[in-house]
């Protein structure tokens, strides 16, 4: 909580200090350094990948450094996404920011408004860099007014996880996971198991109260999260959660918890994952990034299915990707920006992307990566990942499935979590909770937009 407060404070300070006009206009390539600027000999890259993911990053950087002699990239771990952003804000205030930074998905609008970024599109336009092989669902998430602001780096999406053994046990088809809200609820009822004393030993379905999951449910319901094309055509002025679709999501969730066949782990992603891995819940929804670990630790057959959606399966509905992306910082000299771009291009080659997928479990950003050895090996080992790829490939690309961009996205996510919790605990009706949350965030958006004219 304290760290969050620090971040919010630093955010406000920098937002007011350098809330200049963000780049845009028709010729964005003018923002990139001229093509003949020689790349700097050394640049720094800040990232937020701990553990094995951090090791995977170091492997890529070492390979890049030894593949050529002109540029040396140094990758530095800077804590969680929030810590990194807080450190970046402090560093920007004294011109100590690095050339390349990894920022999480929901920091997108904030980075844009800071005016401290050279849009990736500027380099792409300048070099006529070919992005036709890029995964559309991934790359579209990082576009504003159809211009790519940052290079997607670690991409994941949300899927349904289910316990095939439990499906067999209760007579459900283990190869046919439920898709619609009603199907999930019906399957959950069957999968719920009680012991002799009437206590539930297994719940049918147990999602964490996680704002990201709500965003995804809105997208599969084909409902916009915010106005102005989900904040992608223009800056959003209000959120639109209190629609019929938003209410339907909460009512479905609430009915499941009240009926005793949905488990409510609270606002606790690790808790919901542990509950599923240990067999306490038979289905749940989470990020594809947890897939590998779940398969490795679970003592049952893990199945994956499409993300839940309303019973009429809206045609325009689909999945949003999540994760983080790489920004080239404007405050560094042109030579460093050039070097950062050289590294980004290297990182987007199919070979590097295939290795990255096999090391971490994130999506490759270029489709060509699936033809590389490491990626193929990975696909044989974790066939469940195929669902995730199919799902984002089949998601129609529109503003709803591109996902929302808001300057106050971190607060909005937290507010939706409180909103869902209040409904599940019976403290408010779904409509009242939605209206209250929308009013709060609309006020926050107004304040943010005023502070960043």
């Amino acid at each position: 909580m304290r760290r969050l407060a620090t971040f919010a404070l630093a955010l406000t300070m920098v937002a007011t200090a350098c809330g200049g006009l963000a780049p845009g206009g028709s010729d964005s390539s003018a923002l990139a350094p001229a093509k003949d600027v020689a790349p700097a000999a050394a640049i720094t890259w800040w990232h937020a990948m701990g553990g094995v993911n951090g090791e995977a990053i170091n492997r890529i950087v070492t390979a890049f450094n030894s593949s050529q002699s002109k540029i040396k990239v140094e990758a530095i771990f800077q804590g969680t996404y929030d810590d990194l952003l807080a450190k970046l804000n402090t560093a920007l205030a004294s011109n100590a920011a690095p050339a390349l930074v990894q920022v999480y998905d929901i920091g997108q609008r904030y980075m844009y408004d800071s005016g401290q970024v050279v849009p990736m599109q500027a380099f792409i336009d300048r070099d006529k860099f070919n992005t036709s092989d890029f995964e559309p669902a991934v790359i579209n998430y990082y576009k504003y007014q159809d211009k790519l602001q940052s290079m997607p780096w670690n991409a994941s999406s949300s899927i349904l996880f289910y316990n095939k053994d439990a499906f067999k046990e209760v007579g459900l088809d283990p190869e046919k996971p439920p898709v619609t809200f009603t199907e999930v609820a019906d399957a959950a009822k069957k999968l719920t198991k009680k012991d002799a004393s009437g206590a539930t030993v297994r719940f049918g379905f147990g999602p964490s109260i996680y704002g990201w999951l709500f965003e995804q449910l809105m997208a599969t319901s084909a409902a916009p999260y915010a106005d102005n094309g989900n904040g992608r055509d223009n800056r959003a002025t209000k959120v639109l959660w209190n629609s019929a679709q938003g209410k339907a999501i909460l009512d479905w969730w609430k009915a499941g918890v009240d009926g005793g066949y949905f488990y409510n782990p609270g606002i606790d992603n690790a808790g919901s994952t542990n509950a599923f891995n240990s067999g306490k819940t038979a289905m749940y929804i989470e990020s594809t990034a947890t897939l590998r670990n779940t398969i490795n630790v679970a003592k049952f057959q893990v199945g994956t299915g499409l993300y839940p959606r309303p019973d009429n399966k809206p045609k325009d509905g689909g999945n949003i990707i999540g994760g983080a992306s790489l920004y080239i910082m404007k405050s560094r000299p042109a030579a460093e920006q050039q070097a950062a771009w050289e590294f980004v291009k290297y990182a987007m080659t199919p070979a590097v992307q295939g290795q990255w997928q096999s090391d971490t479990g994130y999506y490759p950003i270029v489709k060509g990566a699936y033809d590389t050895g490491p990626s193929k090996e990975w696909a044989t080992k974790y066939p469940q990942f195929l669902t995730a790829i199919t799902q984002i490939r089949e998601s129609p690309q529109n503003r709803n499935t591109n996902g929302a961009v808001l300057g106050v996205m971190p607060q909005a996510r937290q507010r939706t979590q409180k909103m869902i919790e209040s409904v599940l605990l019976g403290q408010a009706t779904s409509q009242a909770a939605l209206d209250a949350a929308v009013a709060d965030i609309n006020k926050a958006i107004e304040t943010y937009n005023k502070a960043n004219p």
Binding site: A10, G50, I76, G79, A91, N293, V297
Partner: protein, 271 residues
């Protein structure tokens, strides 16, 4: 043993188990494999204790170096705080000078300034003098403490004024009185300041993250964060790291306790 003693011991045992339970569970988890932690209901003791989590911690981060850095920085802060706080508290309690009260309240008012508000100026100062990635950059900003000064002043005020008068009559200098009388009599308070200073520095997260970029200059708390993954937690690994990081603080507690008790039993005005 009377029934009363047995009952109170039983109560103490139950109480200490409740208090220590999270720590003991963390210890137990650090010896469990990942798939064992993921069973339901969660086990309390590992069926097959394994050291693999500890091996993985050593393989993932230079934990020894992080511990060394943290101990160096925290100890330097303790020494610095004891020096500055005892001298300042001495002035505020025994020396008489114009504006003493005002100065003291001014000093105290710095407690009201949230740490977050000073972090950017502090960072800029450290950066300007080129102390990023150094021990002094990690330690020096915390070497003066308003809280410690306040605590010591209150302790010094407990020392009878008669001692001061007697020392002066015997010809002791101001400094001599501090060294031979005030400091030995204030051991519990000094111990408290030292332990508090050590723990708060040892547990720092954001400042060390801010002023270090080199892996070898990082401290334990930043190091532990490296064991986390953004999307999934490996409890066993994290708990093994936490256990190793907790060792210095536990050692301090064991050593510090004796110091505290000895300080408490030292007499003040003896014949």
């Amino acid at each position: 043993m009377s029934l009363r003693t047995v009952a109170s011991y039983a109560l103490l045992v139950v109480g200490s188990i409740v208090v220590a339970f999270p720590l003991l569970l963390a210890l137990s988890y650090s010896f469990m494999s990942e798939s064992e932690i993921a069973t339901f209901p969660p086990p309390i003791f590992p069926a097959q204790a394994t050291l693999s989590n500890y091996e993985k911690v050593f393989g993932t981060i230079p934990i020894g170096r992080y511990l060394l850095n943290s101990v160096i920085v925290s100890s330097a802060v303790v020494v610095g705080q004891l020096l500055t706080a005892s001298l300042a508290a001495y002035a505020f309690s025994f020396l008489v000078f114009r504006g003493r009260q005002l100065l003291f309240f001014l000093f105290l008012s710095t407690l009201m300034i949230p740490w977050e508000a000073t972090i950017i100026p502090n960072y800029m100062t450290i950066r300007t003098i080129g102390w990023l990635d150094t021990y002094q950059g990690l330690a020096v900003p915390f070497m003066a403490t308003a809280f410690g000064t306040f605590l010591l002043r209150q302790a010094f005020l407990q020392i009878p004024r008669e001692l001061w008068d007697a020392a002066r009559i015997d010809g002791a200098t101001t400094f001599r009185f501090l060294i031979s009388t005030v400091i030995p009599l204030s051991r519990p308070a000094l111990g408290t300041v030292a332990i508090y200073g050590f723990l708060s520095t040892y547990n720092q997260y954001f400042w060390p993250l801010l002023v270090t970029n080199q892996v070898l200059m990082r401290t334990t708390q930043v190091g532990i964060a490296q064991l986390r993954f953004e999307e999934s937690l490996r409890w066993g690994l994290v708990m093994a790291g936490v256990m190793m990081v907790a060792v210095p603080t536990l050692a301090l507690l064991v050593l510090g306790q004796r110091q505290l008790i000895r300080g408490l039993t030292a007499g003040a005005v003896k014949g």
